[in-house]
């Protein structure tokens, strides 16, 4: 009988337990089921929510700039290129976040470590995605103007700054998780053993 079948059997046993028929092993089994459900919920909903928040945080600066241009009387299309670039970066990063959280929730000893590291990562992203832009655009106007004067599209500068912010965010999230869960190791890679079937776990 597989782990999943044992879990389902335990879940069935819960209703029996509610009717008063408890056994010494049922409490442990109930706890195991609930832990499994908690991790599944965390992966399913928490990952999606954080991925969406990441997307919004990355998109926000371009949204603000587009609004400023519209307020000044420029056509709605002004700033569309920045919004599209930010949306693409945000979408890709959202997938990365979802994947990372899925892996972390599977292997973390404590779920709260996943939440803490992702929260820290989000803070770094929020700060980086906006402040880096302000610093690079406002504080190094002479330097990046050289790029524009030489024909580089502004979108390259914008994308570079936002990708840097994303990279810093990812790095901080992974470093914090590794610090909180030093004993957690990723699953061994599936390799073909000598004479074994593909996918055999060593």
């Amino acid at each position: 009988m597989s782990d999943r079948q044992r879990t389902l059997t335990s879940a069935d046993h819960i209703s029996t337990a509610d009717s008063g028929e408890e056994s010494p092993d049922s409490a442990v089994e109930i706890g195991a089921v609930r832990a499994g459900l908690t991790r599944r919920h965390t992966h399913r909903f928490g990952s999606i929510i954080f991925a969406i928040i990441d997307f919004v945080v990355i998109l926000a600066p371009s949204f603000v700039l587009a609004g400023t241009a519209r307020q000044g009387g420029l056509p709605d299309s002004q700033g569309d290129d920045l919004m599209v670039a930010s949306a693409l970066i945000g979408a890709v990063h959202g997938v990365i976040v979802w994947t990372r959280l899925r892996d972390e929730t599977r292997h973390a000893h404590r779920i709260i470590d996943v939440w803490i590291s992702e929260f820290d990562s989000l803070v770094v992203l929020a700060l980086g995605a906006t402040m880096l832009l302000v610093i690079v655009l406002g504080g190094f106007a002479e330097q990046h103007a050289v790029l524009v004067n030489n024909g580089w599209p502004v979108i390259a500068l914008w994308t570079g700054v936002q990708v840097t912010a994303v990279a810093l965010s990812e790095l901080s999230g992974r470093v914090v998780f590794r610090w909180l869960e030093p004993s957690t190791r990723p699953p061994p890679a599936c390799v073909r053993g000598p004479g074994g079937e593909p996918g055999t776990r060593l």
Partner: protein, 321 residues
């Protein structure tokens, strides 16, 4: 609830502290992004016929714009609109109403903040005349800021911080309205010069251009030292119109003792307006001004960055001129 481990406490605490700090920082950062024109703008791709304007003894067409110095997309959009307007109604002069360089030194940014956006007009041999602004040299006139101002003036061929120029039927008096420049170490040299120049002028039209507005309903508002010391001179010598920037909006006042005050500071950024009793028209938008003089008649238009006319007004030359 399980107790947090030391590492969890530290990581969580740092995250919360960072979140609070980030919230405060982001509020300021987003205000900055919403206020400034930080995305570099490309040169407008508009080809113009050089020297296409007409300037005779009694006809003149000129433009005016202030606070253009970002080098950004919004500044480029205004400059493009100016170039497209030149195509329809060529003008040979642009009065720059100060603040032609933000976010750095004009020595390093002159190409970005002036040459690049104004390339079509520069190639058409349009003349640019500058009234020094507070961002052009700072408010305290250190040696460094004076050097900065001189660098700007020389790049634009401006003779000095205050001067007069003659174009057709009009005389333009450019002033340095910054706090130290206006009073020049406590003296009223600049005002004395203006008083003498206006007294001896025989020109049909007299315009005064400076950076700080005498009257304004914008964010900075009216400039008290100018209403106290400058306005009597303007009224006494029947100046027709005063052009200013500094507040990033467009405003035209009702005639005040015969003088019409214009604020045209929407060269790259916008700030809010709060119409006052002296305001005839005011709007917060990117714009520039175009003026057509034909004899004793002046038509002024505030042109929106999308090409529409925000405001159109007419002035008549003072009697006897």
């Amino acid at each position: 609830m399980a107790r947090l481990s030391r590492r969890q406490f530290i990581a969580g605490g740092l995250g919360i502290t960072g979140a609070v700090g980030t919230g405060v920082t982001l509020d300021k950062a987003w205000s900055l992004l919403a206020r400034e024109d930080l995305i570099p703008g490309a040169a407008p791709l508009v080809e113009l016929v050089p020297n296409a304007w007409m300037s005779t003894g009694d006809r003149l067409t000129f433009a005016a714009v202030g606070d253009t110095g970002s080098g950004g997309r919004q500044a480029a959009a205004v400059a493009e609109r100016m170039a497209l307007t030149y195509r329809e109604t060529p003008f040979g002069l642009v009065c720059m109403l100060g603040d032609i360089c933000y976010y750095g030194s004009v020595k390093d940014r002159f190409h970005d903040v002036f040459i690049r956006p104004m390339t079509p007009l520069i190639d058409a041999d349009v003349k640019f005349e500058l009234a020094v602004g507070n961002h052009d040299g700072g408010l305290h006139y250190s040696d460094e800021s004076l050097e900065e101002i001189d660098a700007q003036l020389s790049r634009l061929g401006t003779p000095s911080r205050y001067y007069v120029s003659h174009h057709g039927p009009a005389e333009f008096y450019y002033l340095d309205s910054s706090e130290p420049g206006f009073f020049e170490d406590g003296s009223l040299t600049q005002l004395g010069w203006l008083d003498d120049q206006l007294a001896s002028s025989t020109s049909q039209w007299k315009f005064v251009a400076m950076h700080h507005p005498v009257y304004s309903c914008g964010l900075h508002g009216s400039t008290n030292r100018l209403t106290e010391f400058l306005e009597p001179i303007l009224v006494r010598h029947h100046v027709d119109m005063v052009l200013a920037g500094h507040d990033h909006n467009y405003e035209r006042t009702v005639p005040i003792d015969g003088v019409t005050y214009i604020v045209s500071g929407g060269g790259c950024k916008t700030t809010s307006v709060h119409p006052q009793r002296f305001t005839d028209v005011a709007t917060s938008t990117l714009e520039f001004m175009k003026f057509d003089i034909d004899g004793d008649r002046l038509i002024g238009e505030a042109i929106h960055v999308n090409g529409s006319v925000l405001d159109r007004f007419e002035l008549r030359a003072r009697e006897g001129r």
